[in-house]
Symmetry: C2
Subunit: 247 residues, 2 copies
DNA sequence: CAGTGGTCTAGACCACCCT
DNA sequence: GGGTGGTCTAGACCACTGG
């Protein structure tokens, strides 16, 4: 059996992994916040007692994971959720021409509910825990395109209200980040085809029984903590879900 | 306007990019074939007249792109399509339990056709060019799961026959690689929901009008050369398409 | 101009694999 | 043991940014 140190890294782990872990710890603790600059590589090397090359290797990995961003001549910054970034990273729906356009969002419903077994299992919480449930309708060019049923644990988003959601300046993930210090770093999506029921048909202005793309998205933060469970129903008559695989 | 050198890289490009380009050129030319070992980093440094660190940076990127694989103590190897690799990299369908199982494949049809405008545009060839069209049916536990309509340019796969396809030892991508020196490096997939027509209903043993996941996959090789266009129709009653996004 | 990240070098030492 | 990739260092120089 492998020995594991308190940090969660194997004993004798590379120095740069230790540095990376320490940087992530500072990010998680809020020492450096989204959008802010972090110390220069030289200073980080001094702080952790390693050479610049070792800091670079740690930062390289965090940049590859889109947690940090380097700007030559300016410095290294903590990645921040912005509208453009959201559209680039997490919004996978494109038009038939391959063009990506972010839709207009209308909040349809906001409620406090209790997690059923499926939700609880996916979110890693106890069945019966309190959740907020939001329903959004997304439209492009005035035509409904997507219905999102979004579930977030109340515990992570205390005192969230429909007004807060409705009046947010940017995307929902920006709201999570700015108002609740919850950083969405990664998503897992599971897709299937389904048929529109009456509610979806009405919201999406399609016939009952029309084919829809059903996406179950789990959004994760540091340490793979699940922060949001989202069911999206997409009318793919004139739009598609795009995915790329680099072997 | 930026100046571009003959190699396609901007003038004054980093040395390691030039090294990377030269390594890829050797891969494309077949100097090092899939599964084979390439020269050690020390030898590559001597060959290209750069330090080991620079070679490492070039190889790092090719490893990140899954074109090369490093094995500590053994050497660096050209990535080869194997069954496991295919399942890991390109087969995105998982069971409801999250388990990935590769299906049994039956060739249903094999024909020579001419590219229509849509196929030609996606494959980057002329309308009317000759294509092979293969139809596969994939089943798990004896139940039909996926129908694949596969189109490849005859030019890239001379003298391909149904027998060659039927008697291949591994996956289709292994056949491309081993018999035609065509390496699939990357795929782009576009997903939508559709309804089963009579042919699909019959092949997948579902009702006409059942919802299916329709995947249009474009497989690409070096220089983003399109090598295969594949329409997959998936019965997602008990399986899902899985995608992950790292912010 | 000073400070930052980006590139490149040269070499040391380690862990690992094969023979 | 000899060769390989993996880590780490120390320093030089370049390109870019901002004041």
């Amino acid at each position: 059996m492998n020995q594991i140190s308190l940090s969660g890294l194997p004993l004798g782990a590379p120095l740069y992994q230790e540095v990376k872990r320490k940087i992530m710890e500072s990010l998680r603790s809020g020492e450096w916040k989204p959008g802010e600059i972090i110390p220069s590589e030289k200073r980080l090397g001094e702080r952790f007692g390693v050479s610049i090359g070792t800091v670079r290797k740690a930062v390289d990995e965090l940049v590859a994971e889109n947690i940090l961003i380097r700007h030559q001549g300016r410095g290294t910054f903590v990645t921040s959720h912005t509208h453009d970034r959201y559209v680039f990273a997490f919004f996978h729906i494109i038009g038939q021409d391959g063009h990506k356009e972010y839709p207009k969002v209308e909040l349809q419903a906001f409620a406090s509910i209790k997690a059923d077994a499926d939700m609880a299992q996916r979110l890693g919480i106890r069945t019966g825990s309190k959740l907020f449930r939001l329903t959004n309708r997304l439209s492009i060019a005035g035509k409904p395109l997507i219905v999102d049923d979004i579930h977030v644990p109340e515990r992570s988003f205390p005192h969230l209200t429909a007004e807060t959601v409705r009046n947010r300046p940017g995307t929902l993930y920006q709201l999570y980040q700015d108002n609740f210090a919850v950083a969405v770093l990664r998503t897992e999506e599971r897709l299937r085809a389904c048929l529109a029921d009456e509610r979806l048909a009405s919201l999406l202005e399609v016939e009952v029984g029309a084919p829809l793309l059903h996406i179950v998205r789990l959004a994760l933060s540091f340490n793979d903590l699940a922060v949001e469970l989202r069911h999206s129903y997409v009318n793919t008559a004139h739009h598609e879900y795009f995915a790329e695989e680099h072997q």
